[in-house]
């Protein structure tokens, strides 16, 4: 299915990330599985693009291809005009499981990208201090991941992500395991932070409300193989107040609309 790009056609900006005709097959237990098919999608600098759809519809596959973790079987993906090669250094990845290194404390985990960059010890220390402040982890530098709560682990992973300051953040259901309250708080913070730092974000979620609340644009996927069903502009202010969205009529209309798109896939597949 062809995606209807919601970005205006006369947009002067060239897309930062561009997927064209992307398809990906996996071999699972000897059987060929088409994860995504015919994906055309442009992502623009500075926007928060959310990808929503049922699980297993290939949203994460797109992120992995964009990060260069594996190549697409069909089509091209380019980043800033160049084809993506293995391990795209311009993107940072944050997943549902935070993949913190259990043998390093919070400060040590955040310091990893800085160590890789080859900064000096005092520089690292200062930056780590600042990052912990940014994500609200001040004073927890000496704690090990297994001593932290789920939300704090997320903050730590986020700080690590920000430490190497990638241009684009790929987030794959980062808050899926958090409780509703904490999740909303993280949503608020992440949106505020990404706007402030002018990051481009691709945010995968299976939660429609989250997709609308966070996104500037929202891509709706459907089923296996994953295809883009619709791309919509989220008609909410950039400095929206996520806490009060529930009462926002625009928010309610758009989630209801998108829900109609998604709902059939619930009964379809299984």
């Amino acid at each position: 299915m062809q995606a209807q790009s919601a970005a205006p056609d006369d947009d002067p900006r060239a897309p930062l990330i561009s997927f064209s005709g992307i398809g990906k097959q996996f071999t699972v237990k000897g059987e060929l599985l088409q994860a995504v098919e015919n994906i055309d999608l442009d992502v623009y600098q500075g926007e928060i693009l959310t990808l929503v759809g049922p699980s297993g519809c290939g949203k994460s596959t797109l992120l992995n291809i964009c990060a260069g973790l594996y190549p697409a079987t069909a089509g091209d993906v380019s980043y800033a005009g160049k084809p993506v090669e293995p391990y795209n250094p311009a993107v940072g990845y944050m997943t549902q499981s935070d993949h913190l290194l259990p043998w390093r404390d919070v400060a040590g985990n955040i310091a990893i990208p800085l160590e890789i960059k080859g900064l000096s010890k005092p520089e690292i220390k200062a930056q780590v201090e600042e990052l912990m402040e940014t994500v609200g982890l001040s004073g927890f530098g000496g704690s090990y991941p297994n001593q932290l709560s789920g939300g704090m682990r997320k903050r730590c992973a986020l700080a690590r992500l920000l430490a190497y300051d990638p241009e684009t953040l790929l987030m794959d259901e980062p808050f899926a395991a958090l409780d509703a309250m904490l999740r909303m708080r993280m949503q608020i913070e992440i949106r505020e932070l990404c706007r402030r730092l002018n990051k481009t974000v691709m945010f995968v979620t299976h939660d429609l409300d989250e997709a609308v609340a966070i996104g500037d644009r929202c891509v709706v996927f459907t089923g296996r193989p994953g295809t883009i069903e619709r791309v919509v502009d989220v008609p909410l202010a950039p400095d929206r107040n996520i806490l009060h969205l529930r009462k926002d009529p625009d928010y309610r209309t758009i989630t209801a609309d998108l829900w109609d798109v998604l709902a059939p896939s619930i009964t379809e597949d299984r």
Binding site: A67, L69, Y87, N88, P89, V91, G92, Y93, T95, S97, H99, L101, P102, W103, R104, D105, I112, P113, E115, I116, K117, Y144, N146, Q147, Y164, P166
Partner: protein
Amino acid sequence: METPSRTYIWVLRAAFLVSVLSFWEFSSGRLASEFFISSPSAIAVQFSRWVMSGTIFYHGAITLIEALGGFLLGGMIGMIFGVWLGRAELVAEVLDPFIMMFYSLPKVALAPLFVLWFGIGIDMKIYLAATIVFFLVFLNTYTGVRAVSREQVAILRLMGATEKHLLFKVVLPSAITWVFTGLRLSVPYALIGAIVGELIASNRGLGYLLANSAGQFDTTGVFAALIGIMIMAFFLNAAVKLLEAKAMPWRDLNSKREMSI
């Protein structure tokens, strides 16, 4: 559940030891011949005589050198090979059946061969202990390197990590738990290697003391030598445990944390 206090547990342990020793002392000469089971008091006398004369320290030092030498040599080579094969998939695939074949061989069966090759000096025992230790450490290190989370590696690669960064920041630290398991398992085995080597051919060491006492039908001496070996094994194990806690502070916290399911 109320955990019993430490003192209480120690009191119970002491009581257990005392009752076992008393029973032994009592049975000796009454339920079984003293010739075969000796008696705790006789063993204590023999042991203190060896301590006074320094015999136990002399022979203990020899065994310790052999066990430690074998432990270090085998552990070092085991770690190096484990990391190398863990990273080099093709080589590992090719060598796998041979390694497993050699692994299933009881290493002490090599002792006679080692006597031929290296003579009956200390070095032969070191090599024997090292061969045993090598496999334990190698296999554990190998497994550990293989068990490294691919996601963690991918995430670091996205940060621009080089092969060297990966090795020192992810692979080795993540494998260290396994390495230490291998090292800790090897300590008693290093001792086994050293002692078996001494039993087969030697004129020094705790194994010699043991074999020599047995040769003279001196059960008391045999038990006293066994106690010497036990004490040495205990201290070696304690040392590894201490090192382990130092090298992996995050593990300690893990076991102290409140449980939740």
